[in-house]
């Protein structure tokens, strides 16, 4: 039974990768959204008005957060409208484990490439080189938390028509701590006001917390939504 639980989790994971691969654009889209938001900012603010480098950590993190939020609204919705979510709930394996596999796949396809891409945009925004490792590391620790926490509202708003915007509303207050420490870590590394380690270890603590509780909460949310 144990080995076939892993098999089921792998099947969910592979299925998500396949789906993403088939509509390849989706992955690219999250990234492109990330790129565009970071580009809009300097445009809207007017580059001559301030030192770009000062706002770079904040802008990059807000962009990452919005990109993740946007992709989350799509997380369960198609499975829901086509009935595959019904079938997932009827699996003999613990729903929490299957949900975890699904979220892992989501992160691999959005958060991970986003973190890897970020230095490129950071250069564009004149972030000092010495802050790059911290930027990538903070995103690697932070984006899975965003995915894990964000999945709960995404599950809760299923069947609530026009739930997309509702997800953002529910999710953004929950994201506040991650955003603050993520951006602060990068800012600290850039300005050497403080060592970034304190912020990064807090992010790691959030990640552990989210890993422990979010899949369970998300599974309960799905059961409630399909009732």
């Amino acid at each position: 039974m144990r080995s076939s639980l892993l098999g089921a989790m792998r099947a969910v994971f592979v299925r998500e990768l396949l789906l993403f691969w088939r509509r390849r654009t989706e992955v690219a889209n999250v990234l492109v959204f990330f790129v565009i938001v970071t580009t809009l900012f300097p445009l809207a603010v007017g580059p001559e008005r301030l030192e770009l480098a000062h706002i770079a950590p904040g802008v990059l993190w807000v962009a990452a957060l919005l990109a993740t939020t946007l992709s989350l609204t799509q997380l369960f919705i198609i499975d829901y409208t086509e009935g595959s979510l019904d079938q997932l709930l009827l699996s003999p394996y613990p729903l929490t484990a299957l949900v975890f596999a699904k979220l892992a796949a989501h992160w691999v396809l959005t958060g991970l490439p986003l973190a890897l891409l970020s230095p490129l945009l950071a250069v564009q925004m004149a972030l000092p080189d010495k802050a790059m490792p911290t930027l990538v590391l903070s995103l690697l620790l932070g984006t899975p938390v965003l995915t894990l926490i964000g999945a709960i509202p995404a599950a809760l708003t299923l069947g609530v028509r026009g739930g997309g915007v509702l997800v953002s509303l529910l999710v953004l207050p929950l994201y506040t701590p991650v955003l603050i420490f993520g951006a602060e870590a990068v800012a600290a590394a850039a300005g050497q006001e403080f060592a970034a380690t304190a912020h990064l270890s807090l992010l790691a603590a959030f990640l552990v917390l989210a890993l422990a509780f979010a899949p369970l909460a998300c599974a309960s949310a799905l059961r409630v939504s399909l009732d």
Partner: protein
């Protein structure tokens, strides 16, 4: 007389704040099937979803081989297969991929390419194994959803309008699939407005248990 495989006693269900039906009771022994009938909106879909745990009944007692399904928990899911109004397919996956992921997620750890191909052949989709579900017609999608039931070997089938969109030949094929399932000791609940020809099936008219009209 042997114990019933699947038994339901005094089940009642509500939607929103209206009680739909009450006092639904029946028993199914190995090899038996029930054809649940009733006018639109009397709660057949609600009944089926409550039986498989997707909805929550108001009250009542559902047992599998004498044990309450609520106590069985996830184990109950290891004996049932449900086909709803919706097909539960993913448009971007091919027919074979849809069947394979279904099998794995539902515990068919030993499901391989051969099993998948065999199931697709049984529903007349052998040639379409590599075609994405998006490119299929309504009837072909319905058949693909039926193929999923064949790769996991479940004694309890709950089918909601399985004949929808099927052509005449496929209706016949599905009826003989169900017959085979019953011969193998399974039980089945079939919701359908369409009449079909399955020897020995009992009719169950939900109308008699309705509390509020429509």
């Amino acid at each position: 007389m042997p114990e019933a495989m699947f038994s339901v006693r005094a089940l009642s269900c509500a939607r929103g704040d209206r009680v739909l039906f009450g006092g639904v009771s029946f028993e199914l022994h190995a090899g038996e099937a029930l054809h649940i009938r009733g006018p639109n909106g009397h709660g057949k879909t609600t009944l089926l979803r409550a039986l498989c745990g997707l909805g929550r009944p108001l009250r009542g007692d559902i047992r599998w081989r004498g044990e309450r399904v609520r106590d069985l928990g996830d184990e109950f899911y290891a004996v049932l297969a449900y086909l709803g109004h919706l097909n539960g397919l993913r448009d971007e996956l091919t027919a074979a991929e849809n069947v394979w992921t279904y099998a794995r997620i539902h515990g068919g750890a030993d499901c391989d390419g051969k099993t998948v191909r065999a199931a697709l052949a049984r529903v007349g989709l052998a040639a379409a194994a590599g075609r994405p579900a998006r490119h299929m017609s309504q009837g072909q999608k319905r058949r693909l959803a039926l193929a999923c039931l064949l790769v996991v070997d479940r004694p309890l089938w709950l089918l909601d309008e399985p004949f929808t969109a099927l052509d005449v030949a496929s209706v016949g094929a599905l009826v003989s699939l169900i017959e085979e399932h019953l011969h193998g000791g399974g039980v089945a609940l079939i919701v359908s407005h369409q009449a079909f020809d399955l020897p020995g099936i009992r009719a169950f008219d939900l109308e008699h248990f309705v509390r509020v009209k429509r």
